[in-house]
């Protein structure tokens, strides 16, 4: 009970902090400061929160992560209130896939030459580290646009590409968790891994479609909350029980709702109003789960993943900016600018940490944290420079008094 209350207090502080900033994304682009704070409070540094306490938080963490993924699904492919162009969505998926594959390949290459605890599951480790190295810059861009007046083709391009970068990662997580579960026994039938991954996404799609249909016939927002929570918790609980990815299922549910519901905008607003109270405690918990690598071999693996990401992101960013003459000057900076990773990376890594007890979970979370901090130090600055190089960065006029922020979960 005391721990639950502590979490509620953190959520409360987080939501006040978020609303006090007039709707700005809280603190840094990736929320890295909360990860660091969690790490400091966790069992490995100050020990304010012990291992047992962390374990008791796990059920709450599963629900929180899945809820956050529902929000990602609802926002996927959207730039503000408008959908991004399909070509840009596909481009985002390709870029994310290439980044994930590059980082994963680097991990596999290094891991196969070293003696590490995760050697028997090197393929799983490579997939996991590839996925937590793949996300690009939605939050970083949001961070920049909240502080500067940015407008132009490069801004639009990056916005649209970043809008759909969650899709590949979260669908990949469905596959990763299915790999960990192995063949699933349903009665007397053995379900292969690929089918389990499909079932994870299928569960989300079916529940999303059902919720969209029910929402259209329930005029009161109170009922929408009941429907959203009910469907999301079914997806979360059902997948978690059999070891599949709740985040992937709720992401698919959110994406389906976004596509199929006429009320998607209102649903998006409802779910995103809870982002602060849910996300900040989740980042703190993720930080508290962080551990240092065991030996140089594990450090090398993390290094390989980060290096793979660096190479892929830099290449992708450079290529992206070089296509148009007007944005060519920003090519180098944009390559580094795409290094920023948002909260999705930490959340996926945290979910992986909860699912995989051993080196896979530990290294995935560590890689995400290192990548996030690196992106925070380099990426946001580089993105700003890229936009300035392209002549798209101006000074924002002082904002008028912000209206009262919407209530969380209201």
């Amino acid at each position: 009970m005391a721990l639950l209350l502590a979490l509620l207090v953190v959520a409360y502080i987080g939501s006040l902090w978020a609303s006090a900033r007039g709707g700005r994304s809280f603190g840094s682009a990736s929320g890295a400061e909360y990860v660091v704070l969690g790490c400091l409070l966790g069992p490995r540094v100050l020990g304010v929160v012990g291992d047992e306490a962390l374990r008791s938080f796990e059920p709450v963490a599963h629900v929180a992560l899945a809820w956050i993924a529902l929000g990602y699904g609802l926002e996927c492919g959207m730039v503000g209130d408008r959908p991004a162009r399909l070509s840009r969505n596909l481009l985002a998926i390709v870029f994310t896939a290439v980044t994930a594959c590059t980082a994963g390949a680097a991990v596999y290459f290094v891991g196969s030459r070293l003696e590490v605890e995760a050697r028997p599951s090197l393929a799983v480790l490579s997939v996991a580290l590839g996925l937590v190295s793949a996300e690009t810059t939605r939050h970083a861009l949001r961070w920049v646009t909240e502080r500067h007046l940015v407008r132009g083709p490069l801004t639009e391009l990056v916005q649209e590409v970043a809008a759909a970068d969650d899709a590949f990662v979260l669908m990949g997580v469905a596959f990763l968790f299915a790999l960990a579960t192995g063949q699933l026994e349903v009665g007397t039938v053995l379900v292969p891994e690929w089918a389990s991954a499909g079932a994870t996404l299928g569960t989300g799609i079916v529940l999303g479609a059902a919720t969209a249909w029910l929402v259209a016939r329930a005029p009161r927002h109170v009922e929408w909350w009941t429907l959203l929570l009910g469907a999301a918790w079914i997806a979360t609980g059902a997948t978690t029980r059999v070891g599949l990815s709740a985040m992937a299922a709720t992401f698919a549910m959110g994406l389906t709702l976004s596509v199929a519901s006429r009320e998607a905008g209102a649903l998006r607003t409802m779910v995103m109003s809870t982002e602060g109270p849910v996300l900040l405690p989740a980042l703190l918990l993720a930080g508290a789960h962080l551990t240092l690598p065991k030996g140089t071999a594990e450090s090398a693996i993390v290094g390989a993943a980060v290096a793979g990401r660096l190479v892929a992101s830099y290449s992708a960013g450079t290529l992206l900016a070089s296509v148009r003459p007007s944005t060519r000057r920003a090519a180098g900076w944009l390559g580094l600018g795409l290094l920023s990773s948002g909260t999705l990376t930490m959340m996926v890594a945290f979910a992986t940490r909860l699912r995989f007890d051993g080196a896979v979970g530990r290294l995935a979370l560590l890689t995400a944290a290192v990548g996030t901090l690196l992106g925070e130090l380099v990426g946001t600055f580089a993105l700003r420079r890229a936009l300035a190089s392209a002549g798209e960065l101006g000074e924002r006029e002082p904002a008028p008094e912000a209206p009262a922020a919407p209530e969380a979960a209201s």
Binding site: L5, Y12, S15, H62, L214, T226, I234, G237
Partner: protein
């Protein structure tokens, strides 16, 4: 309830049924699968299932003009450990934590609904009806219990003095009502008018009356049930402490809430969730009465500040979720095998309770000079029983281990009937009185 309920045609109902079957089918698949992940997933999924299926069953029952609450209970029964086994006994037990919060919010909303001006208007009628209801129901139910004793397994061989003692306790239990069911029906129907005012004031105040009656009955009947024990005023003293403590704490909480709403006013729901969990644990530790504490807090906010409507609106926003979880869990809790084994006794006790409640109400409201509307339909809101009755039965089971468990089983069986029939009657009464704003 959806405003568009009336326009929901066969296609919509078929669609809702299809969604319900799909969700249940998904659950059947998940249950057939070997568990290879977190066991906590089962609890999360169970909560989701209760929410979604509760809402769908309630919608499907709408054409029968049954209250949504009945649908929630039915969904709980369906998904629970006695029918489809999707939600096991363990999950039902673990859901009690969520119920704690639900009950706190329900009680707070109950207090917020009680405006001093309304209470003043209804006070005379409530007082006179309470004065007739309480003794008449107690005596009639106690007498019937004694008469039925040869047919009740745990009372068959009891000596007469002991039987009388248990019959008195049974009579007190029969006087208790369900504030949560009353509030759930009012939340659904958005009813306004004299019957609504009367029912709300009566049911909320009967909470206090029943606590005092139970404490007195425990003190007086102890020598009858436990040979060698003497009449002790200790229990009465502890109830006085419980009531005063609850009211004091509730008043303090109310004042704190007023200050928060005035000075900060943000993230009210998050604050309520934290207070709901923390204060319930604290109140239970202090052996105060949580329901009364939150009821008082709501009453203070409504009548000592201008923040009442704001807070009530916030709680109402959660209404769908809170009521569905609370009553669907209650449905999953229902012990169907037990009900099947003693249903004739339970039915006889419930039937006589309806009748005596009706007679006592007619007498009390005539004495108070109430309007014809209250005289005719006022009893409908006094039939429901739920959490408070079960809580009191739990206290009896602990106080008198030899007969308490049997008594509790019988209470569970009768509450099962009253929990289903009571809300239907109350909704019917409100409809007949023309006070229902939401016709869904």
């Amino acid at each position: 309830v959806s405003a568009g309920a009336a326009s929901k045609g066969l296609g919509t109902r078929a669609g809702q049924l299809l969604v319900l079957l799909t969700v249940l089918g998904l659950f059947a698949l998940v249950h057939a699968a070997r568990q290879s992940g977190e066991s906590s997933g089962e609890l999360v999924a169970a909560t989701g299932l209760l929410l979604l299926s509760g809402m769908l069953v309630a919608e499907l029952l709408e054409p029968l003009r049954l209250p949504h609450l009945t649908g929630y209970i039915l969904a709980g029964v369906l998904a629970g450990p006695h029918v489809l086994h999707f939600i096991g006994h363990d999950a039902v037990k673990r859901l009690e934590l969520i119920n704690t919060l639900a009950l706190a919010l329900i009680a707070l909303a109950g207090g917020l609904e009680l405006k001093m001006s309304d209470v003043r208007v209804a006070a005379r009628g409530v007082a006179f009806t309470m004065l007739t209801q309480s003794p008449l129901v107690l005596i009639a139910q106690g007498a019937l219990f004694v008469a039925l004793a040869p047919h009740i397994p745990f009372t068959r061989d009891l000596p007469f003095p002991m039987l009388v003692g248990i019959a008195v306790l049974w009579g007190v239990l029969a006087v208790s009502r369900s504030p949560s069911a009353t509030l759930a029906i009012l939340s659904q129907t958005r009813a306004k008018g004299p019957l609504t005012r009367f029912s709300l004031a009566f049911v909320m105040s009967s909470d206090v009356v029943v606590l005092v009656m139970m404490a007195s009955a425990l003190s007086l009947t102890r020598p009858l049930i436990e040979p060698g024990a003497s009449i002790s005023l200790e229990k009465l003293q502890s109830v006085g402490h419980e009531l005063l403590g609850s009211v004091s704490l509730g008043t303090t909480l109310g004042l704190v809430l007023i200050a928060y709403l005035r000075l900060v006013g943000r993230q009210v729901l998050l604050v309520l969730v934290a207070i709901g969990f923390a204060l319930t644990a604290g109140v239970q530790y202090l052996r105060f009465e949580p329901m009364l504490t939150f009821l008082t807090a709501g009453f203070v906010v409504q009548n000592m500040s201008s923040q009442g409507e704001k807070l009530l609106h916030k709680i109402e926003e959660t209404g769908g979720v809170v009521f569905v979880i609370f009553f669907a869990t209650a449905g999953a809790h229902l012990d169907l095998p037990l009900l099947a084994s003693i249903w004739p006794i339970a039915l006889a006790l419930c039937g006589s309770r309806f009748f005596v409640t009706w007679v006592a109400h007619r007498a009390g409201s005539a004495w108070a000079g109430e309007s014809d509307l209250i005289k005719r339909w006022g009893w409908c809101g006094l039939v429901s029983q739920a959490g408070l009755t079960l809580g009191l039965a739990g206290i009896l089971a602990r106080t008198f281990p030899t007969v308490g468990e049997g008594l509790r089983s019988l209470v569970i069986a009768t509450v099962a009937i009253n929990e289903v029939v009571g809300p239907i009657l109350f909704k019917l009464g409100l409809e007949r009185a023309g006070e229902v704003q939401n016709k869904g």
